[in-house]
């Protein structure tokens, strides 16, 4: 299968195209993490192959008319030199056009082999380098104005809008990949059209040379996308102007429209049928169109948004690419012909076995046996594909399950903290009231102890006085001492003084409770305040009656007055209310 060796340079060119140009389609979407790279690569690969196979013939016809490279050796050299130049420019991070490289190489082949160059086609091709980006700019500007209006006036929730943008990026990316395949397959495989001859008879259906070349070329572009485009995608968008996902939709759609227009023979025929001039079906550089689109958006937003320094480097690349490619091709053709003895054109008879082998047409027949093998292979591939999808599904399900478990743990953690903080709040309020109760109890006990001591002391002094009296012999002195003891007892039994002391003591108590009470209920009398304080301390009704030396009716009247001033109902518990202040 020597032919595969010769078309390998085209396949390498296809790989370079895929690696470089996929970034124009999904670069921003992947770079802004709207779409994962694997999904983008898969979509781009499928649609680029479809575009190449279904719609690649229009541009291929045009390019093949520029210079009819009629030997596989020549085609191999032309494609290889273009691929090398594209690879070098890509490595140096210069946006490069595969179309410009291949045009330079074909022209160099024509000069080397003294074959005629179709200058009319060359003019059309070169002019597409200019009006391609201009058209891209015009489309992008119009689409951007529409997109901006939509974003500013829509009332769709931002999250739903985000999802819509993702789907839009996928759809435009698919369209862009299809257009890329349709328009640029000519750059990859166009040079082999006049030199290669392969035919596959697949039972009742036959695939001709062009279809096979397009399929192989499309697959090579897809492999380039999958294997190398990620690195290039990481730098797209920021080079010329910062692109948002919304702007990326505009740019990709503009690019896809331009490439589609310049590769659709149906559209061209439609224009002819209505009396308009046909659209030239020429391979257009997707990179240049993207640059034009970005420029179009930049001009609508404001010229200050565009980095003209980068544009300068790009323009330099446009000039250098065809020249360098042409020069490399010219010298390479010399080596291939004279050193390796491989025919580079059909007009020169070479004696090498390689040339003879390359010139022989290849026809592959698939018999019924092959048919079963092919069907089984397809089924096996489908089975592998489904297994891979199933593994992906299980993985994402497990990931979701792990996330849910993590969320549940987080929630339990939060519930625990909630319970803890509630406990803290309760403890805080309890300890405050417990502390108060403890303090009150302590003070009660202290008072109780003090009063017991006082009583003990008093009784002891009384006992001493009585002992003194019984020891006296003089009756007059005994009478005097007894009168003194009686007076003492009388004084002690009169509690009004004690209670007066007690009430005076209450006046001295400046508790927070009294302050709050006075602030809120400014119309309480002094006695009512004292009554409130005693109730708050927990004195019983009978104790308060004793202290104030009131009768029951008077006490109830005071309490009622207090109740009214506190705005309480008839049966409300005053003590509990006061304790809650």
């Amino acid at each position: 299968m020597l032919i595969l060796f010769f078309i390998s340079s085209g396949l390498f060119l296809g790989w370079s195209l895929g690696a470089n140009d996929a970034a124009n389609i999904f670069g921003t979407a992947v770079g802004t993490r709207m779409i994962k790279f694997t999904r983008a690569a898969l979509i781009a690969s499928v649609f680029v192959i479809l575009g190449a196979v279904l719609q690649g013939s229009g541009t291929t016809n045009t390019l093949s008319q520029l210079g009819k490279v009629d030997a596989l050796g020549g085609a191999f050299t032309v494609a290889l030199c273009s691929a090398v130049i594209v690879a070098i420019m890509t490595k140096n991070k210069l946006p490069v056009s595969t179309g410009q490289a291949i045009v330079g190489s074909i022209v160099a082949w024509c000069y080397f082999t003294a074959k005629p160059v179709d200058y009319g086609i060359l003019t059309v091709l070169v002019s597409s380098w200019i009006y391609g980006p201009i058209l891209g700019a015009v489309f992008a500007a119009l689409l951007y104005i529409f997109m901006r209006r939509f974003i500013r006036t829509t009332t769709i929730h931002v999250i739903k809008l985000d999802i819509l943008i993702r789907y839009a990026l996928i759809l435009t990316g698919a369209f862009g990949a299809y257009s890329l395949g349709a328009n640029n397959i000519a750059n990859v495989m166009g040079v082999f059209v006049h030199s290669a001859s392969i035919k596959i008879n697949f039972w009742t259906y036959s695939f001709d040379t062009i279809q096979i070349l397009f399929l192989l070329g499309g697959i090579s572009i897809a492999i380039g996308i999958i294997t190398y485009s990620k690195k290039v995608m990481e730098t797209v968008g920021g080079d010329i102007m910062t692109l948002t996902p919304e702007n990326a939709i505009v740019v990709v759609l503009a690019q896809a429209l331009v490439l589609f227009i310049f590769s659709s023979s149906s559209l061209s025929d439609l224009l002819i049928s209505i009396g308009l001039p046909p659209i030239p079906l020429v391979p257009v550089s997707s990179t240049q169109v993207v640059i034009g689109s970005v420029l179009g958006i930049g001009l609508v937003k404001g010229v200050q948004e565009v980095k003209f320094g980068v544009l300068r480097n790009i323009a330099l690349g446009w000039v250098l690419t065809p020249i360098l490619s042409g020069l490399l091709t010219f010298f390479s053709l010399f080596f291939v012909q004279n050193v390796f003895d491989i025919g580079i054109t059909d007009g020169r008879q070479m004696n090498s076995s390689l040339s003879h082998a390359a010139a022989t047409p290849i026809i592959i027949h698939f018999s019924n046996d092959y048919l079963y093998i092919v069907i089984l292979s397809i089924l096996a591939l489908l089975g592998l594909g489904m297994m891979y999808l199933y593994i992906l599904f299980v993985k994402s399900k497990n990931k979701y399950k792990l996330n849910q478990e993590k969320l549940t743990k987080d929630k339990e953690h939060v519930e625990f903290h909630r319970a803890l903080s509630e406990l803290e709040v309760n403890i805080l309020s309890d300890s405050y009231s417990t502390g108060n109760v403890n303090e009150n109890r302590k003070s009660d006990l202290r008072d109780f102890t003090t009063s017991i001591n006082e009583i003990q002391e008093y009784l002891q002094s009384l006992l001493d006085d009585l002992k003194e009296a019984t020891n006296e012999e003089d009756v007059t002195l005994i009478k005097q001492k007894l009168e003194k003891i009686t007076l003492n007892l009388k004084e002690k039994s009169d509690l009004s003084g004690g209670f007066s002391l007690f009430l005076n003591k209450i006046d001295g108590i400046e508790s927070i409770f009294l302050k709050k009470l006075r602030n809120v209920y400014t119309n309480l009398t002094i006695d009512e305040q004292k009554l409130a304080l005693l109730l708050e301390f927990g004195f019983s009704d009978s104790e308060i009656i004793s202290i104030f030396r009131l009768n029951h009716g008077e006490y109830e009247s005071y309490k009622n007055d207090l109740r009214i001033k506190l705005n309480l109902t008839e049966h409300a518990d005053i003590a509990n209310f006061l304790k809650s202040i």
């Binding site: 996330n403 302050k515 602030n519």
Partner: protein, 214 residues
């Protein structure tokens, strides 16, 4: 089916914004209950606010998890999480300030009751005004700037009233101890902080809305 997951996120965001609204209302009621010595209601407000604060943290975490695990809005989610963090500060402040009332038990003279209540109401109004602006950011960013001017108005009014109260405390209340005056001063600051935080949220929303429109 297209928007199933996004509907859950939208519901969580709405719930969070409602909780911010409820928290400032609870704070307002809590202050009123404290000033008028409605102890039981005040305690209920404390508990409700504490639970609400925990629920809001929970929801904020859920939103963050959802946005990152489903890779939603990669360009905006940083701003949105920052917005929620600032709004969560409003809830945290409301809870913290109300708990300060419970812990420190400031003695508010009867003549200042109405002033304190009015200060609370105006400060809370600033926070309440920021909620519709935040909601409109998600649906109609062009209208955000129309809605946030009320926040700035209430924030200014809060500052003015707080200043008036502080002057009253220090110049017209000789019966209060200096410690009590300082204590009251700090509580006016606590209440003011809510409107200040609302202003920060408004500033952030203003920039976020411009970024979306441009």
């Amino acid at each position: 089916m297209l928007f199933e997951k996004s509907n859950q996120s939208i519901a969580l965001i709405d719930r969070f914004l409602n909780l911010v609204d409820q928290s400032v209302l609870l704070f307002k009621e809590g202050v009123k209950n404290y000033v008028f010595n409605n102890a039981e209601n005040f305690k209920n407000n404390l508990h409700s606010l504490a639970n609400l604060e925990i629920e809001s943290d929970n929801i904020r975490r859920d939103i963050e998890n959802t946005l990152y695990t489903q890779s939603l809005m990669p360009q905006l989610r940083g701003d949105i999480m920052r917005l929620f963090e600032e709004m969560d500060n409003i809830i945290d402040l409301s809870k913290k300030n109300l708990f300060q009332f419970d812990v420190e038990m400031p003695l508010i003279p009867a003549s200042l009751n109405n002033d304190f209540i009015k200060l609370t109401e105006i400060s809370v109004s600033a926070a309440e005004s920021v909620i519709p602006a935040a909601k409109s950011y998600f649906n109609d960013p062009a209208s955000v700037n129309e809605k946030i001017h009320r926040v700035y108005f209430y924030e200014k009014e809060t500052d003015v009233l707080a200043d008036v109260i502080r002057r009253k405390i220090f110049r017209e209340m000789p019966d209060l101890h200096l410690s009590e005056k300082f204590h009251l001063r700090y509580f006016t600051l606590h209440i003011e902080n809510i409107s200040d935080t609302a202003e920060k949220v408004a500033d952030l929303l203003s920039i976020m809305a411009i970024k979306r429109i441009v």
